[in-house]
């Protein structure tokens, strides 16, 4: 039980959003301060670099948006990284080996991710198996499927309209837009995030999500279809992981079965740094976006300054704790 349970909702939320931004601002300041610079201008602030940052986090960010919903209902999804890998493989295989068009391929992969998520949701919501273990198993299953589907090696995507070549349209995912400035993945991430924020603010479904995380019994007594909502949320998480996987394939021009491992932890970190309580019921996508940006900036500046990689691990760990510490006002899970 902590103080904020007693702050009026709005104030509290405002405060929290401020908090997660606060951490981000600190890291940004540090980034600018420590950035190496050319002719007096910090490399970090060059538009190119900033767009590299957002591109680097767009996949984690998209996953983290889905993860936010899952954590809001008091659940967790450890399978997203593996699902990303599976989706990347899927896109590559469908486009290259099976010669599908971009749209059909994308739809098939998204559907697969959705179904995978729904199945996990059913296992945890209907059969009452703890989400942690369900999705941990889901991770292994997805990884295994990806390796089997790809034959164990990354599937290279080369473009063209010959056989064994993917439609050039798909290569857009690797490109930048708005006269070469903004990377497409960042655009997709932005769209997903904005949509999710709006959805969480305005939809009844979102109210049910918060209610389930806050007091599941109360939600049930109020006639909320608890099980259905839970299952759908896991479905959403799977869907977004698949979307991230498609982007991943486009970015790297290949679908490799082992990609995305460990992404789930980054995504969860982003969500928590963003001020969402793992106990569920409280949090926001805007916070998650801030959290993802914080991580992205952190990685970028550590790479820019060329700190010793092992020391980087230390710094990252400590910064993450500190950033999460800014959230300590909210209920501890």
């Amino acid at each position: 039980m902590t103080a904020t349970e007693f702050l009026p909702g709005r104030v509290a939320n405002a405060l929290f959003r401020f908090q997660s931004l606060f951490g981000l601002v600190l890291v940004l300041a540090a980034a600018i301060a420590f950035s190496p610079s050319h002719d007096g201008f910090p490399d970090f602030l060059t538009s190119d670099n900033l767009f590299n940052v957002v591109r680097a986090i767009s996949e984690i960010g998209i996953i983290a948006v889905g993860m936010t919903f899952v954590i809001l209902i008091g659940g967790i999804d450890l399978s997203v990284g593996a699902v990303l890998g599976l989706a990347a493989v899927g896109s590559a295989v469908l486009l290259v080996d099976d010669g599908l068009g971009v749209l059909p391929a994308v739809l098939v992969v998204l559907a697969a991710g959705l179904v995978f998520g729904l199945l996990q949701g059913i296992a945890s919501a209907v059969f009452g198996i703890q989400a942690f273990i369900v999705t941990l198993a889901g991770l292994q299953v997805a990884r295994g499927l990806a390796r089997i589907w790809s034959g164990g090696q990354g599937v290279q995507i080369s473009y063209g309209d010959g056989p064994g070549e993917a439609p050039v349209a798909f290569s857009l995912l690797g490109e930048r837009t708005f006269n070469g400035l903004v990377p497409i993945p960042a655009v997709i991430f932005a769209v997903v995030a904005v949509a999710a924020i709006a959805f969480l603010r305005t939809s009844a479904f979102a109210r049910h999500v918060y209610a389930i995380g806050g007091n599941e019994k109360a939600a049930r007594l109020s006639g909320v279809a608890v099980t259905r909502v839970k299952v759908l949320v896991y479905g959403l998480s799977g869907l977004l992981a698949a979307l991230a996987g498609i982007i991943h394939a486009g970015q790297l021009n290949q679908g490799s079965p082992n990609d995305g491992s460990g992404y789930e932890l980054d995504a969860i970190a982003a969500v928590v740094i963003g001020g969402t309580a793992l106990s569920g019921g409280r949090g926001s996508v805007s916070g998650t976006v801030a959290g993802a940006l914080l991580l992205g900036v952190l990685n970028n500046i550590l790479a820019l300054t060329g700190v010793d990689p092992n020391v980087q691990l230390l710094i990252k760990g400590l910064v993450i704790v500190a950033a999460a510490g800014l959230q300590r006002l909210r209920p501890v899970s």
Binding site: N52, G154, Q156
Partner: protein, 310 residues
């Protein structure tokens, strides 16, 4: 490490192992992990080569980069009384004891890529990471930056042996050639990590003229980052491994994404060949079989690829 007075030596003069041409044999392959394309390729090479010998059934184990699991994998192979062990150790010392155990049981042991300590094995097949690193360094110094220059190095997984050896060798190769490694980053052998790291590198050091990546996937990742930064024409990329598969380095060189790569042979085929001579011909192969590496440039890429897949 410790050198054993190898009691196993006598046993492994393939007396029990060799049942001749019409015997049936189970070969256990203990692979360090299937995450790295190179190692998956090794398994595939072994599987393909073994097809020629109906006497062989090959079974694979994946240690998932876990020394302890690989020990268990070998133990399990012993339980199942395999006739020959092919192992590509995750790391040398941790696997030494269990490999010796197998060897002392009279099971021929073929060690691929990474040696174990001591000499309690039948044959080691592999290339020399230090040497390949050195060749890469020399090629860079001779062909790409004869007048010296600034480069970036992308390392594999910190704490893994090849990462260290390929780094040391490379350092030797460029010694005194006026080549300055302005930054070294870790990308854990992964294309995705390399891309992100390289994003930052090109930002912090736009003057960089070449990138030495300790494997091809990382070189490709760096190339993608350079492309995004519009530097793909200016900067040259060196990789290692040169796998003869579509996503492999040879194709990347052929397509001009990488300036060069160095074939780091998996030794899969050679392992099966040795297995044949041990099990079917009751012969005694030499203790070590050092595999040659090969420089792959745009000039010879196509033919190397074809040859490898013949």
């Amino acid at each position: 490490g410790t050198t054993h007075e190898n009691s196993g030596q006598g046993a492994s003069t393939s007396a029990p192992a060799c049942k001749g041409k019409d015997g049936k044999y189970t070969i256990g392959v203990s692979q360090a992990n299937l995450g790295e394309p190179y190692r998956k390729q090794m398994d595939d090479d072994i599987a393909r080569a073994a097809k020629q010998y109906p006497q062989f059934t090959v079974e694979f184990a994946d240690a998932q980069q876990d020394n302890a699991k690989q020990v268990a994998d070998v133990e399990n192979f012993l339980t199942r009384r395999i006739d020959l062990l092919v192992i590509s150790p995750n790391e040398a010392t941790p696997l030494t004891a269990v490999v010796k155990k197998a060897y002392d049981k009279g099971i021929p042991v073929l060690v691929l890529d990474r040696k174990v300590d001591g000499d309690a094995y039948t044959q080691w097949i592999g290339a020399d990471n230090v040497d390949i690193g050195r060749q890469a360094g020399q090629y860079l110094a001779d062909e790409i930056l004869p007048r010296g220059g600034k480069i970036a190095e992308i390392r594999g997984l910190a704490g893994s042996t090849p990462a260290k050896e390929r780094q040391d060798g490379f350092a030797k190769g460029i010694e005194g050639r006026g080549i300055d490694i302005v930054t070294t980053v870790d990308a854990d052998w992964l294309r995705e990590k390399a891309q992100q790291q390289a994003d930052a590198i090109f930002k912090a050091h736009p003057e960089i003229q070449a990138v030495y990546a300790q494997n091809d996937p990382m070189a490709e990742g760096a190339y993608l980052a350079a492309k995004a930064a519009g530097l793909d024409q200016k900067v040259k990329f060196l990789g290692i491994d040169g796998l003869p598969i579509p996503p492999g380095g040879i194709k990347a060189v052929e397509a001009g994404r990488l300036a060069a790569t160095f074939v780091y042979p998996t030794g899969g085929r050679e392992a099966v060949a040795s297995a044949k001579s041990i099990l079917l011909d009751c012969a005694r192969p030499p203790k070590t079989q050092l595999l040659p590496t090969q420089l792959v440039t745009r000039a010879n890429a196509a033919e190397v690829y074809a040859k490898a897949n013949r």
